[in-house]
């Protein structure tokens, strides 16, 4: 069950990355900050789910074979995925000006998505010599995990939009 959890979280995180990249492209074209909030929300939630999934996968590996890290290609790819998207959040924290922050983050999100298939392939080839990849076993669990992810992302999006609305109110108050 744990490995099914892991697999589900990987697929959900992948979907989140895709949505984030599309939202980023839409932001760059329209400069509508809703898309920036969407990209942020999906990336954050995707990252959280992915990290949780990796823990589940590691535990599953420990229970099955006795090692915490099995160098399974999916597990390793997931880890690289975390390393790929964590800088997105760090970058956002490092830029204060909202437009610049949104545009820079959007660029990183797009680069990251193009990298994902390459990483999956590369890690798979690299490790194929060492371990036999476990059969894909997400099964029915993908549905609840995906729904959970979508719900969390939606909540995060609402929270982010609220924060922006408050900023805008503060702005208008200053103008009067």
């Amino acid at each position: 069950m744990l490995s099914a959890l892991f697999d589900s979280s990987v697929w959900t995180a992948l979907a989140a990355a895709g949505v984030a990249a599309i939202a980023s492209i839409l932001f760059l074209r329209s400069r509508n900050f809703l898309y920036d909030s969407l990209a942020l929300a999906t990336t954050e939630i995707g990252l959280v789910l992915l990290a949780a999934g990796i823990v589940a996968g590691a535990i599953a590996g420990r229970l099955a074979g006795g090692f915490w890290w099995t160098w399974d290609s999916r597990l390793t790819t997931a880890l690289v995925g975390v390393l790929l998207y964590a800088p997105y959040l760090m970058l956002r924290r490092a830029i204060e000006e909202p437009t610049r922050r949104a545009a820079s983050a959007a660029v990183v999100s797009i680069f990251a998505l193009f990298d994902v298939p390459l990483i999956a392939l590369a890690v798979n080839w690299w490790l194929a010599r060492r371990t036999v990849p476990a059969p894909f076993s997400a099964g029915w669990m993908i549905l609840p995990v995906a729904i959970l992810g979508a719900a969390l992302a939606w909540m995060r999006l609402r929270q982010e939009q609220q924060r922006r609305a408050q900023d805008a109110e503060r702005r208008t108050a200053q103008e009067i």
Binding site: P87, M90, A94, S104, F111, F114, I119, A122, W126
Partner: protein
Amino acid sequence: MKYVRQVATVTMKDLRAELRTKEAINASLAFALMILLLFSYTFDPEQEMMRQVSGGLLWIVFAFAGTLTLNRSFARELPNDCLDALIAAPIPGSALFLGKCFASFVLVLAVELVSLPVFGIFYRVHWTPQFPALFGVLLLGTWALTIIGTIFSALTVNIKLREVMLPMLTYPILMPALMSAMRLTTSLVNGQPIPEDDFAWLKMLVGFDVVFTAVSLVLVETVLVG
């Protein structure tokens, strides 16, 4: 061709400025040699182990030392607000970007070509037999390093913690390219041609270069002007 001349102007400017001060290239070279020296404490140049890790070691050296140079790429425009003047000039953002890419490429490659014989000497590896193919892999891998390093150098130029953010952004994205380069270099640097199985890695490296050069060129105006 006007565009080519614009790119060349930027490249020559960067190279001329760097060769006068030699800031980046000295630091980069010193760093590369230091890593090679440090690693020599870990490994006895005993044949089999060395053979397996040589590609990995070399590209760790190249990537880390290369980042020192790549960080300078746009950072060198900050004193005196020179970046303003470059952005205001009527050249396409892509010309400015490619100009800097080529300059960094030359500088990083120079450090690599010095590191390689040093590596050969310290670790007693005979890297000459397959040099043409090895050089080809160096070119492809260095281009990957350069293109990603330069676009993120532009992205992070004005941020606080720039020196931290650049490696954090660059290395994860570079992984497929680095892995390919490492695998290919391991065979070649030991005088062996690339085995049949490993040709996929060559395709991956070329694919990486093509895809990310294209993505960078499409996004460069956004990165420069916001």
